[in-house]
Symmetry: C2
Subunit: 401 residues, 2 copies
DNA sequence: GTAATTTGTTTGGTTGACATACTAATTGAC
DNA sequence: GTCAATTAGTATGTCAACCAAACAAATTAC
């Protein structure tokens, strides 16, 4: 009879090591875990029988470590993706998306639907998520049971620990966790995460094989400016998951769009509305981001001047953040990032000039994940929790009894 | 024969649980670790024989949990402080300090000496540390061997991974780690840490018993403004340990002391020089911090006006940081923090007004650790590493063989 | 072809952790 | 005061995780 059994600590550690490295021979895994080869052999056997690991089939990839390696070559062992699934969702202003990530960290299914956020009720959003989750579950192997669902939302839980505020959706004091819990009663644990935080995870999680201690700052620029902070490979969430609200950074006295209550904020200089207002002020032309970028690419002097102003203030904000957080990489996401390539030189020269001598200068890169970013990152957070041994997402395997 | 043996993972976990809680009965410890009482009994026996834990002697303190607790009361077990020692040092501008922290997290010895930082060589500093370490080791029990030495320094390692820059000491490109390594050749591992980071740890490490996931920001205000960030109980170090350099925060266009290269920085508004320059500008009087605080306490209108300006800009900086990092507590350290009580109301009203509705407002507190802060925090970082199971500081016990 | 090296597996032994059962020490009900 | 109920701590036998040692297998170096 096949029964589901919880994994032993060293089995979880072994999976985490395999995930970090991509694939390892039993001997290399033994060294990584500090166990003997014999123990590791039994460990891998158990994981294989439980359907969580497998020997790598592509023989072509037998060049594990350089050329002159003496001795019998090892057989690479890797994670069996079908060993488990993690669900992520995103409630956006215009749409709702869901994805499934497998035990190997690969995206395996996705589904999305239009959603008129402002004006819709939280209950409507939950109903859509329920249908989309059913849809992606049908794309997964028969009988696959997800370990959990993490929902990225544009907003933050409030200080009372229950209610949830999403000004952009017009929701206030909504107990979204409870609504979702009722919709999926007991099937799996459900978490909420801020959308910018989720994107930050999606951009950095396993960005480079073998590296899991990345220091990065992900900046999301739309109308508002948000961010997510990754420190040593872990999301810096702050007290209630609200760290990274860098749109409120005070970098000047006014702003291109003026806000009497909170003047001089970063997003009033570099957000989408601010950018286009500045362009309107200089050129007299009303444009969208795409038109603005086209004008910029075409050398329109007003667009170039606008971009130069944008870069000046953006550089100020980046310099502040680079000093405060000292990230290795800064990743730009959101529709406004399309103008960055035109001003990269200016911003990076400013950064280099601002930072103290010898201080590491972060690289600035553009987003690599697409529209699924928030949902994908939410799922990756569950994957990370499971492979770190979080008891709430205790991995299980099928074992013969 | 007594031999030194490495601790098993669960023994280290047990010590970490005892440290977090202060003291636990065997049964409570078993629940905490997820082990059975019988296993935990054997675990505690082993730790006791190894000299790392002991039964608490003060019978008075038998009120473990409220009153109406039925059943046989447990015997509290706590960490035996003499089980291990961790050394911390601080190279300051005017003095060098060293402390020893024991396995229970208590400060057990300290020694310091005047040091004319600017103008002295790194070699001179290392020689003083060597003597001070010998001095505090003589205050510890016979035969105690420290697990390591962590040295807090006013500066940062440079991007090349070797050299070390401390502008304030006039040191550039110094390989301090190597100098220290030569001075203590092989006795124990040696680490370096930025001083503001170390202070942040000292302020927050075990600030509240039972809580080890604090989110805090520690701000050090002297001439310059530095900071250390604690996220979920861990130091946020950034790429090279340089996170928290909040003095460079760009909050305005000029500053009370003008810096042509980097105008508008937080420290040019709220640092010591800036404060006193502003007071000079308003009152015509040249004063030190102590005199200024005395004038402020006496109701001197110029001092009150200066403090109000200071509070305005400090509030702007705090608001930026509160949004970016979302700490639960903000702790003020450094000599300038003496003026905070006079403007606390103004700053906190500004914060409350600035932060979004429902956003958690951090508390602002004054430092609780004294002049030993940097050295103490450095030692606490080693203690934390050892109790987290860091292999570099693998705990050992004496066992009969 | 032979030695050296590294991988993976087998075997038997040690020990960490468990389940179970027992004793000890307290509270609360009568 | 006495007796259940409850919780803490310990003893014992069992299981299995891990190790050490030895061996077979597959490669490089000479």
């Amino acid at each position: 009879m096949l029964v589901s059994t919880d994994l032993r600590p060293n089995e979880t550690r072994a999976l985490a090591a395999l995930f970090r490295a991509g694939a390892l021979s039993r001997a290399a895994l033994a060294r990584d875990l500090g166990l003997t080869r014999s123990t590791t052999g039994a460990l891998v056997l158990g994981l294989t029988e439980a359907g969580l690991a497998r020997e790598r089939s592509d023989e072509a990839n037998d060049e594990q470590d350089g050329e002159g390696r003496v001795g019998r070559p090892g057989i690479l062992v890797e994670i069996e993706g079908n060993g488990g699934f993690f669900l992520g969702a995103y409630i956006g202003v215009n749409w709702i998306a869901t994805v499934a990530v497998d035990l190997a960290g690969a995206q395996r299914a996705s589904a999305s639907r239009a959603f008129a956020g402002p004006g819709s009720t939280p209950e409507a959003a939950v109903a859509i998520i329920r249908e989309l989750v059913a849809e992606i579950r049908s794309q997964l192997p028969e009988g696959a049971r997800p370990y959990g669902l993490n929902v990225a939302v544009p907003g933050f839980p409030a200080a009372d620990g229950i209610s949830y505020h999403a000004t952009i959706l017009g929701w206030h004091g909504v107990n979204l966790a409870e609504l979702l819990g009722n919709a999926f009663r007991g099937d799996f644990p459900i978490l909420l995460e801020n959308d910018a935080n989720a994107v930050a995870v999606a951009e950095t999680y396993r960005a480079q094989p073998g590296k899991d201690d990345e220091d990065a700052l992900v900046i999301l620029i739309e109308n508002g400016v948000g961010g997510g902070i990754i420190n040593a490979g872990r999301l810096h969430r702050g007290r209630l998951g609200g760290a990274g609200e860098i749109g409120h950074l005070r970098i000047g006295d006014e702003g291109f769009v003026f806000d009497a209550k909170r003047p001089g904020r970063l997003e009033s200089y570099v957000g989408k509305d601010a950018l286009l207002a500045r362009y309107l002020h200089i050129s007299g032309r009303r444009a969208g981001v795409d038109e603005f970028v086209a004008a910029l690419a075409g050398g329109d002097p007003a667009a170039v001047a606008t971009a130069r102003d944008w870069a000046l203030w953006f550089g100020r904000g980046l310099a502040t953040l680079a000093c405060t957080l000292q990230p290795e990489r800064i990743i730009l996401s959101g529709s406004v990032n399309a103008i960055y390539p035109f001003v990269a030189e200016q911003v990076e020269a400013f950064l280099l000039d601002f930072l103290a001598e010898g201080y590491p200068v972060p690289t600035v890169e553009l987003s690599r994940v697409g529209a699924d970013g928030p949902a994908l990152g939410a799922a990756c957070l569950l994957h990370q929790a499971a492979l770190s041994g979080d008891p709430q997402f205790q991995l299980r395997g099928l074992a013969a009894r």
